[in-house]
Symmetry: C2
Subunit: 405 residues, 2 copies
Amino acid sequence: MINVAVMGYGTVGSGVVEVLEKNKDVIAKRVGEEVCVKYVLDLRDFPGDPVQEKVVHDFEIVVNDSEVAIVVETMGGIEPAYTFVKRSLLAGKSVATSNKALVEKRGTELLAIAREKNLNFLFEASVGGGIPILRPLKTSLTADVIEEIGGILNGTTNYMLTKMYDKGVDYDIVLKEAQDKGYAERNPEADVEGYDTGRKIAILCSLVTGKKVDFEDIYTEGITKVSKEDMAYARSLGMHVKLLASAKRHGDKMCVMVAPVMMGREHPLYAVDDVFNAVFVRGNMLGDAMFYGSGAGKLPTASAVVADVVEAAKNPSISMMGAWSEEKEELLPPDAISRRFFVRMPGDAREKLPAVKESFGSVTLVEVEGLDGEFGFLSEEMTEGEYAKCAERFPEILHRLRIEG
Amino acid sequence: MINVAVMGYGTVGSGVVEVLEKNKDVIAKRVGEEVCVKYVLDLRDFPGDPVQEKVVHDFEIVVNDSEVAIVVETMGGIEPAYTFVKRSLLAGKSVATSNKALVEKRGTELLAIAREKNLNFLFEASVGGGIPILRPLKTSLTADVIEEIGGILNGTTNYMLTKMYDKGVDYDIVLKEAQDKGYAERNPEADVEGYDTGRKIAILCSLVTGKKVDFEDIYTEGITKVSKEDMAYARSLGMHVKLLASAKRHGDKMCVMVAPVMMGREHPLYAVDDVFNAVFVRGNMLGDAMFYGSGAGKLPTASAVVADVVEAAKNPSISMMGAWSEEKEELLPPDAISRRFFVRMPGDAREKLPAVKESFGSVTLVEVEGLDGEFGFLSEEMTEGEYAKCAERFPEILHRLRIEG
């Protein structure tokens, strides 16, 4: 029998207990022995919940019990998660976590400890929720140079953008609806400013490069400035607006960015709607691949955590994720990337286009019925730097979105 | 240095040599040592090709060279592939193959030998070409009871159906075009009759159940009867027609079927067009997930084979795929599944609907402008058996398609 301690009995933690209970027979068959929850560490009590008899409030009980082989961390945040995970590893226990902030901030050190102690430190659920991507990246996409990795990594903002697009309503209204449904937090900053997405692409990019990628080094633009007018132009172009995380290889460096982009029907992420997530990978031999599923939610996320528990239980003394070193990966600034831009401009197209063309060169006019007093245009391919220079002459620009693919 | 022998220098085999050569640096880094092609076994010579100096015509050279640790089988067909693979395993060499016919027909025995000898017998490329699905299924989707697995597993037929749908042209014309482009073989039977798809779903289903699933036991219907008229109805319903492989759990049994189906926009496979493949998985905790990519093609398929080589090289004495036992899985006949049906009927809707409703109960009429002298209707949910009984009274039915999702 393999004993597990679950730290944090919130949404994901209670999901982990539920998955281990409901699927205990198939899990026992796959592992070769039973996997049982011995402790649930939480500050709260849960009277009436069958888990109550396993609840402990003191981490020392968990860390000092040599029968506990695997610790699940589903508390979230950096502290005390970091201290508890580190001490668990040092005490010889493998750890599975869903905590992207912890992995992004302290993953390098925790991976090094796990390697040193020949233990598992696994975090499949930290990126893409239930979507299996980290292990496939390390064990299946091994014949390729990864040219690009990214995707739609945040369910809250994808839900909001889908609603704005489908219903033509504005950001504030959709945010309130998402909050009422419990999809968005009261303080939605981490989601809508792209920070959550940024942490996830930092983790993916660290795995791909084998070196530490810092979230702070990533250019991150959220969705707060995306308007129903942008959506109207996108619809008329047959495109979608998606919050895209993208890491693209240029020679031996990666260029990483989080930003809302317009993408056409031919892009594999075009049809990824609502709270779904998808990770896109381009290999130099494989070509394009995509992994799609529930990026969040209690049971899908718990399913990914428990799959890590199964992996750790089957391979107790193998450090599965020789994931990345302490060396820091230098990123290429996003200026390097050439792409087309969509620009919204106030005024009359006929009057202004000559000046626009003088600055931007050839452009494609986009007009939408019902949107008076403004027009849109698509530029040809240019770098971010070239765009900034062209746009300098037009401080009145209402919004610009990047075109992807 | 790890020495590999590639058996069969056709499309995939030459791709394997190319991937190992082009990406040798990253592969060496991931494996921990260099991976080199020592022999290419083929009946032909390739004068002028740098591989020529490695070409051998005699399998005995490969099997008797103790320096060869891993054998790649990309010959296709059952013989001599089966004999060569078996003898390679018995000689202590791990094997990676892209040969779905071999895996479906002889996989059980070859897996048992690999297990016995503590070697790897890997076949990621046999299903979904470049899409990583078999290893994720065995190492990532381990917390779930798999309720359903399937997908679009054949690029040729998906290309043909996409073209028929987009351009409104008939089967024969599209088949000829696919043959001219080299997507379809001169004898297209294995693709268009669904046999290729059937072998792949048999492999997936064997992995999911842990028991041997025989291709011969699977109900298989190809695309030869799908017409441009069917496509016109599908378009008017906002649906697509796809050749779907599907294995669904009913209690402790699986119901497996290959057939063209109509599916709506909300189905994750709806947007999988052209030669792309996608595998769909539904877990009881995870919910829906999908793996999308190039299901065929020289380099994507070779990428999956080489990923197996990397896995075998990293884990020389672990049988990674304790995949399925010799016990046979009893399948549930497809009659068990309830679904809606789309039916095309000659004649006038107004005249015939009363009789249709008397037999089928409530139906939804579907009429398409330009299709005179016939009409379509959607039934309510019914089992295959119930459908057959209802349809008995109408021998004039032109075609029926199942509705999925």
